[in-house]
């Protein structure tokens, strides 16, 4: 019986992420929210390194003008960022096993060509538990018109 149990355990290498992580939904949510904040801060600090780990290599984002940008585009964009402050107004995480959907609203303040700007944006990001960590695989940003 012990052998059978061991074989079954070995066969179960692809168990859902929650089992694999041994974390509660609340822990996972907290972790993802923290990474979303790191993502925002990367723009303020012009620090692409922080994003290397957060963004999956296959990451794609749809911008407000309908353009699709990749991980490489984001990393290049961050170094030239004109963002001075990102204020998170709301954020909700919905878990679907090893996938998480995050929606939220951010207020972005910055300076572009000497002119101050402030833009409220709604985003939706998809996170995936992959190789023992959460990475983001897709996103969409759209401006909120007041």
């Amino acid at each position: 019986m012990r052998t059978v149990t061991l074989v079954m355990l070995l066969a179960c290498t692809g168990t859902p992420a929650i089992f694999a992580q041994g974390l509660s939904d609340l822990d996972v949510t907290t972790k993802i929210v923290a990474m979303e904040h790191m993502w925002s801060q990367a723009y303020v600090l012009k620090d692409p390194k922080a994003l290397e780990r957060i963004l999956d290599d296959a990451f794609v984002n749809v911008e407000s003008d309908g353009k699709v940008i990749t991980k490489a585009d984001v990393l290049a964009e961050v170094t030239k960022s004109s963002v001075l402050q990102v204020l998170t107004e709301s954020m909700v995480v919905r878990l679907h096993g090893d996938t998480a959907i995050v929606t939220g609203v951010v207020l972005i303040k910055g300076l572009e060509r000497g002119k101050a700007f402030a833009q409220r944006e709604r985003f939706v990001d998809t996170w995936l538990y992959k190789n023992g960590q959460w990475v983001t695989i897709a996103g969409l940003v759209t401006p909120i018109r007041e």
């Binding site: 168990t15 859902p16 679907h96 996938t99 959907i101 929606t103 897709a138």
Partner: protein
């Protein structure tokens, strides 16, 4: 011990189903494309029953800076007049990650308002999750293409 064995079998069955998805990326992408088409057809027919099966209950849809839930989306379809808008899909890219898939593409929306025909192209990005034997839409968003 018997209980432990049963529990392991259940977990194994779950993980094997995920592994099957992983080893079958081509067919998963085909299934997603079919689901995207079903969505368009259901929407054009104001078929809320079909949309209810395509959308996960926790679906979030984002457009024009607004967040739309499954309930909001279905009631909007219910109110809309059938055939007033026509959607034509252009080729899309589907990337699968086990039981999760991302579809990115463009669709053309033709609407008739006050006798005038308007055509707008949208870029969409959709997240699908394999749940209880079928792919369901958990998140979607679209942005108008500025050309």
């Amino acid at each position: 011990m018997k209980t432990m064995g049963w529990w392991l079998m259940v977990v194994c069955a779950l993980s094997l189903s995920v592994s099957t998805q992983e080893g079958n990326e081509g067919s998963a992408a085909t299934a997603i494309r079919a689901r995207e088409r079903e969505w368009v057809v259901a929407q054009s027919r104001n078929d809320n029953r079909a949309l209810d099966l395509i959308f996960d209950d926790s679906l979030v849809y984002v457009e024009y800076g607004r967040l739309v839930t499954k309930g909001d989306y279905l009631s909007r379809i219910k109110r809309a007049t059938a055939q007033l808008s026509q959607i034509v899909m252009e080729p899309m890219a589907v990337r699968t990650f086990g039981s999760t898939a991302i579809a990115v593409g463009i669709y053309r929306e033709r609407t008739v308002q006050e006798g005038k025909v308007r055509v707008k192209r949208w870029r969409f990005i959709d997240t699908w999750v394999y749940k209880k034997g079928s792919w369901v839409l958990v998140a979607a968003g679209a942005a108008p293409l500025t050309e």
